[in-house]
Point group: C2
Chain length 163, copies 2
Amino acid sequence: MTDIKSGPNPLFLREEDLRQGIELLFYAYRDFTAEPDAMLAKIGLGRAHHRVVYFVGRYPGITVTELLGILQITKQSLSRVLSDLVDQEYIAQRPGTKDRRQRLLTLTDKGVDLERSLSDAQRARIASAYRAAGAAAVEGFRTVMLGIIDAEDRAKFPPPGKR
Amino acid sequence: MTDIKSGPNPLFLREEDLRQGIELLFYAYRDFTAEPDAMLAKIGLGRAHHRVVYFVGRYPGITVTELLGILQITKQSLSRVLSDLVDQEYIAQRPGTKDRRQRLLTLTDKGVDLERSLSDAQRARIASAYRAAGAAAVEGFRTVMLGIIDAEDRAKFPPPGKR
DNA sequence: GATTTTATGTCAGTCATGTTGACTTATTTC
DNA sequence: GAAATAAGTCAACATGACTGACATAAAATC
């Protein structure tokens, strides 16, 4: 154990630095999901419904296959929550114009309301963390998070200048 | 909508910045957990077992109540995975010396091996992200993540100087 | 010393969310 | 015309969460 107990020299990645990274992700995700989960429970829905509503809101007209690619679950798993959301009129389906096999998914007004109320707690949490941390820290956060995400999905996050 | 489409001015938090923050957390956590999940599936265990093994390794001698406080699940939920881990001799229990009602939890040698092999993929992912991002970005990452975590748990992450 | 609280564990039932495998239908592509 | 693709369905199952009720041992309090 080369435990020099030096000042911070993060390019010499100690065991403890890495462990702290693991724990930051664990606690942040735990707290980040707690509020919407509690709201969802009250209306008989779960986190999986939130994810679907979120990404349909994010990419209006998204196809089922595209959604499966993002969520990385099976179509049978998606089917259940998507059926719930369509039945309860949070999400509308319409056939694709170019490819009529596709079902393009969009939020109804009711779905927009749900998405907003669920994600607002998360937006507030992010906003408060960003404000407290400052612009430079936010850029560092972005950079490290992108490094954690598999390379295939990094293109979903265009650099600040391009936005 | 005051959409000025300016250059990056992160103190004016636009809708899109916040949405990007939400998605960074979603994708990072999804990819961060995928590798250990796949390894666990091969030996008939799940993510819940990983969490327990991780935190018992992190805090040797931790009590059941303390572990429940970290995981934020019910004792019935913990009981099942903890029993598995004790039965399969990944975790050992011994009565507390000061309070003999407590069961102090520690990893066995077998448990240490399991914890290491599971978390190694995660450590490697963090290490690679940290190296690619650089020291300043890592500090920003830490700061923002701490802002996302509920205040009660921030003390678990001492500032760099104090480590 | 008796009572209450705490730490832990257990039994039973339920729900949400994931899985695999098999199969169907409509449509598009080759 | 045949094969591939997009979507959906049925069935069975595993995991990990939950609630509620109850039990035991030990510690803390009155």
